[in-house]
């Protein structure tokens, strides 16, 4: 099948449509996902295509949306929930962590809960409070959930379909600043499984790892570093829970140095976990401590300060330099 050049938003639309086509039990639920097509237009046209019973504009209540999605999954549906913005997922936190995440265990496997929760997340879009957060750590600490985040249109197209096919709940984090840049999508094959991480640029001096919107920034940083004579290997995490440590540890064993980059605050985060685990598993290979580049441990600041708050190419390079200085 052909390769197409698509934005991530469009790739997601097509991925959702493909999943809905393949299985009539797949339904979409959320706020403003019907005629409006979602505030990011990811569900654009899908209500027209599949009808109002498969693309539901729900009442404005996140706990209600996730709670009823659980009930629908019990009934055999595969609900795909859209949370409008990262910062609005918290009213649903109890239903996600205490019900959705635990119900399969509570049923001792007699019940599967194939619910996908799509969360547009992250900064770089200059938006007001609650619209630029990166809440993935909360869910990565929660057993029973799977977490993934695509960095490219290709991955977005395939990973959303793989997530919907999963018989476990999947939190699907969409890096909203990457909705619009275009990329090649191979419509024929995903090429990689949902929970695998991937080396997206080979290098020898230092490894940097990140997910979502961070990946393109890491690649930019690697480019700049290369001009300055430093060879950075870039790993796209892709899956945040479980984390596929194989390529990462491989890489660290070669470079001896690791920088983890994320938009979320650093404390008690995925970055902390990667640092702790990689140090444990590759202790004798590390020439430097695993360094983290992240949002500060503050609320996401007003938009005009996001440039200072969020990791950028310079901060990534600065951390790589620090790692190399050990």
């Amino acid at each position: 099948m052909a390769t197409e050049t698509l934005t991530m938003a469009k790739a997601l639309t097509l991925g959702l449509a493909a999943a809905m086509q393949a299985d009539e039990k797949v339904i979409l639920m959320g706020e403003d996902i019907g005629p409006l097509g979602g505030v990011f237009r990811v569900t654009e046209g899908l209500q027209q295509q599949f009808g109002a019973h498969r693309v539901l504009d729900t009442p404005l209540a996140e706990s209600g949306i996730v709670g009823t999605a659980i009930g629908l999954a019990m009934r055999g549906y595969r609900p795909v929930v859209e949370i409008q913005f990262d910062g609005f997922i918290f009213p649903a936190f109890d239903q996600i962590t205490t019900q959705l995440a635990k119900l399969t265990a509570r049923h001792e496997g007699a019940l599967q809960l194939p619910v996908v929760i799509r969360v547009p997340y992250g900064g770089h879009i200059g938006a007001v409070e609650h619209h630029q957060e990166s809440p993935e750590a909360y869910f990565a600490h929660t057993a029973g959930l799977r977490l993934v985040s695509p960095a490219t249109p290709h991955d977005a197209y395939w990973m959303i379909q793989q997530a919907i096919a999963s018989t476990d709940p999947v939190m699907f984090f969409e890096p909203k600043s990457r909705y619009w840049p275009k990329g090649e999508v191979d419509l024929g094959s995903p090429g990689i499984e949902l929970h695998a991480s991937r080396v997206v640029r080979a290098g020898t001096d230092v490894t940097v790892v990140g997910h979502g919107a961070m990946v393109s920034m890491l690649l930019d940083a690697a480019e700049v570093a290369a001009e300055e004579g430093t060879s950075i290997e870039v790993v796209d995490l892709r899956s945040l829970s479980p984390i596929d440590y194989v390529p990462l540890l491989d890489s660290v064993r070669r470079t001896g140095r690791l920088v983890v980059a994320q938009e979320a605050p650093g404390s008690v985060s995925i970055g902390s976990e990667i640092a702790a685990t990689v140090t444990e598993k590759a202790f004798y290979s590390l020439e430097a401590p695993v360094l983290r580049v992240s949002g500060y441990d503050t609320p996401f600041p007003p938009a005009k300060l996001e440039g200072a708050y969020l990791p950028d190419v310079d901060r990534i390079l600065h951390a790589a330099d620090r790692a190399l200085a050990y």
Partner: protein, 371 residues
Amino acid sequence: MSYTPETLQLLAPDGTRVASDATEAYLPYVDALTEQQLREFYRTMSVIRRFDIEAGNLQRQGQLALWIPSLGQEAAQVGSGFAARAHDHIFPAYREHAVGHIRGLDVVQIIKMLRGLTHGGWNPAETGNFHLYTLVIGSQTLHATGYAMGLRFDGLVGTGDPEKDTAVLVYFGDGATSQGDVNEAFVFAQSYQTPQVFFLQNNHWAISVPVRVQSRTPLFHRPRGFGIPSVQIDGNDVLMSYAATAASLDAARAGEGPQFIEALTYRMGAHTTSDDPTKYRDDDELHYWQERDPISRFEAYLRGLGESEAFFTEVHDEAEQFASEARARTLALEPPAAESMFAHVYSQPHPTMDAQRQALADYEASFEGGA
């Protein structure tokens, strides 16, 4: 927050039938009940009460982590439980032992949960569509509503075919009415016109908090503000509980949207075996409700209908038998294997689970090696 002029009742506390304009519509449901069914009501209430006492004893003897008594709420549960059809789905809170029993749930499953062996662990497909208990107050109301949305999307509402039309019956308590989730369930239910009956057991207490703290207004007024029709019934009257639930389920299955029943009843025992109700409530209230006991009331009614002493003796013996079997089976329960905690966190293979299962095994093996 006790009986009001609006409280629907068919059996007075002394076991005599009462009639009113408001209950007229419910009579066909009651009239259609066979003697056998009436006996079944009595039998189930009696068996579950006896079991309930036994389970409380087991807890005191250190056999259970906790017991949650349903003492006093048997009529509300048995009436409503028998009103559901086999293919209806039931979402309980955590006190609906009688309903579970009616649906075919082995009560030892409840024991296992409260002994600390499982978190529920039964399969609703094998227990008459009686779903797991939910301990987080109110959460199950949204699951029930979602399930009922699914029934509607599946076209199983208002077809007129009794084999097809299906409804959901969801239980919750007076304390639960304060939770956001329960009110969101009302919102979704009315918005999607779900085939669903909300069954509120107002047992007057949420642990130590009296219902007037949750609401100064009769709770059955609440759903009306959401556009959900409601009735308040005498929840210690098994006939009324049956008839109101049957009628509401019929309406729900017929496509008339969600329905709501507030059953006034009373938690005659402690909240759980961890609780000490003498700290917060007085005997007068208990006596008031003891005079309205659901089982002795129904016994009087059956006796009035001419039921034989032999029947009551038989039920008594059956209840004893049931309780002692439950006890014996409880004592025979084995703890689960430690590695079972990794088994169903995910439905598909998961590297963290594999690694941690292995780590636990290695760790345990290290002792054997060292010994």
